[in-house]
Amino acid sequence: MTEAAAVSKPLRERWFGRPGRSLTRRLIWLASAWIVAALMLTGWMLTSQYRESALRRLGNELGDVIDNVLSGSSVGPAGLVVPEIKDASTLRGLSGKYWMVGEVDAEGGFQVLARSSSLAGESLYVDTELPDRLRNAFGDTITYNDPGILPEEAQPLRIAASMKSLPGREAPFVFMAGIERSEIDADTRQFATFTWTALLILGVGLVIAVFLQVQVGLRPLFNLRVEIANVRKGRAARIARDYPNEIQPLAEQVNRLLDHNQEVVERQRTHVGNLAHALKTPLSVMLAEAGTDAGPLAVVVRRQSEIMKGQVDHHLRRARAAARAAHGLGERTPVAEVIDELAVMLERVFQSKDVEIDWRAPDDLAFLGERQDLQEILGNLIENACKWSTRRVRVSAGTSGLGQMIAVVEDDGPGLPADQREAVMKRGTRLDEDAPGSGLGLSIVDDLTRAYGGRLSLAASDLGGLKAVLELPAAER
């Protein structure tokens, strides 16, 4: 995978992946959808309301024109008499404000009887269905849009028309008035532009606010995530911060779980320890008792006690490793400290041999696991080295790569040929009965190391003896 893909994929997934996977995304998308819907509805209502009221105002003005024309009109002997009304804009040619009076003749055609000067001889367009619509709404005024008297000049009009009767004539007249619409259209457009721009800004602002709110609001959750990660990485033992009421119970449960884990491990350990104590003292008694006698029974007891001792050690070790595998959270053990205390102790134990343990480990190197286990692992290795060494034991520890540490224990003893190194790791193998101890040291180390996902290997040391190399998980610095 290229680096760009590695970076862009999580980013893309973060915002456009399945919303169910991220609380942040879910909250932000939900709030954004609601904000956009609400703002669009608001925008539509505002603009249509504005347009409606503008048209209503125009309708009133048209009604006034019709009323003026109507009130001046009368039916004389020569037919309909319509004087010009006192509105200057209906006089000027093509001023944008017009009126017209006509009638529907016997054939259904429309005859114009009078018109405003502003029409300059043109007529307002009357479509064929208009007379019927007017007849149906007799006496009322209907308004509608019209492309204009001179369509090529694109002066759209708003037209009001009404069918009324005048005294002295049975057949009704059609009164029409028209006003140019472009100004209102422009107003409406401007209003709409303004409104939508304002709403867009508001919407973007709100979405940003939601984003910030979610980020700030969910921060405790992010903090909790970081803390849990720290516990896992061994940088902290527990969740330490205070959290808001909603997630404090979660933090407490995590802590309780950690405690419980710890408790289970401790209980296992104690149990195993008690069992060891309970079995080993009687075994000591049997061994000692058999040792004082040279009879055949004593020989059998002694041999069987040895086997039992081996079995007890083996199974206790298994139990310990199992207890360890069930755990593995949060512990961080300083390596230099453990090596130091073991070195001090073992030099004293092997004082008669004058063994010198030369150790090097950085102060900030920490093992990601329990102190007892590191003591067990290194204790057995260093003890073995001391046992076999002539005088010198060298212990060095350091980091290796990501999250790993290496510890090397070497001695200047006789060492082991390659084929015996394999065998010595196996349970119960004792290469030399003269060396004190059970010979189980290395396989205990191997079991524990494996339980931590680490590795133990044996090689030849340049000091002349055996070199044990341990790979173990390291805690982050």
Binding site: D313, D340, A343, Q372, E376, N380
Partner: protein
């Protein structure tokens, strides 16, 4: 040689008493921590065999009390658990050797002989430098009465510096006196050990004299006490 055997298991006690007696020791036996502490406090034993799992007061606490009272009798601890954490805490409390149960009686006797040989080394006077004390006979050092945990190299370093306290000691001189001839002589490692020793005895006690070496001095105000 007088040995104090502290073990609560009756059978094991009987056997060990028998074996120790046969090996020529005068054996006193204590079955719990209280009795053990009392006997160890009042009688001058040459060596103590101390089981860690005891009724009333546990073995580690008994040992801690003895060491706090200034008893330097070598102590071998017996532990059934075999866990290194138990051994380490035993040594922190002042043990000199350990045996994990079950063990062979011969091995116990061999270890006791080694302990006695060790403690019978040439007796020399305790060295002091302010609150810092070093007892070459028991190979133990204390700061203000608190026992120090030192590796043998650290111990030798401190011993040498205490014998030459107040004087500037060069790194080369330290290398020459600390390592025997088979060791790689690298004067840079002295810095590492001085660093570790400083952490254990208190960093102000060891002064670095730039370009010359190191000097061990009592802390200011400790002269009167010393």
């Amino acid at each position: 040689m007088r040995v104090l055997l502290v073990e609560d298991d009756a059978d094991l006690s009987r056997q060990l008493k028998q074996a120790l007696g046969d090996a020529g020791y005068a054996v006193d036996h204590a079955a719990d921590g209280e009795e053990a502490h009392f006997l160890g406090d009042t009688e001058p034993y040459d060596v103590v065999v101390l089981d860690l799992g005891l009724p009333k007061i546990d073995g580690v606490s008994v040992l801690e009390r003895w060491r706090r009272d200034g008893k330097t009798t070598p102590v071998l601890i017996l532990t059934a658990r075999g866990a290194w954490s138990d051994k380490v805490s035993g040594f922190d409390a002042g043990a000199d050797d350990y045996l994990t149960k079950p063990f062979h009686t011969e091995e116990l006797l061999a270890r006791l002989r080694a302990l006695l040989r060790r403690s019978a080394g040439i007796a020399s006077a305790t060295l002091a430098c302010g609150g810092l004390r070093l007892d070459p006979r028991a190979a133990r050092a204390t700061v203000n009465g608190e026992p120090l945990r030192l590796t043998s190299l650290e111990y030798r370093l401190l011993h040498y510096m205490m014998m030459h306290q107040g004087r500037v000691i060069s790194r080369t001189e330290l290398v020459e006196h600390l390592y025997d001839q088979d060791f790689d002589r690298d004067s840079n490692t002295i810095e590492v050990f001085i660093g570790r020793l400083r952490k254990k005895v208190g960093s102000d006690r060891i002064e670095t004299v730039r370009g010359l070496g190191y000097r061990l001095t009592p802390l200011a105000g400790e002269f009167e006490a010393a």
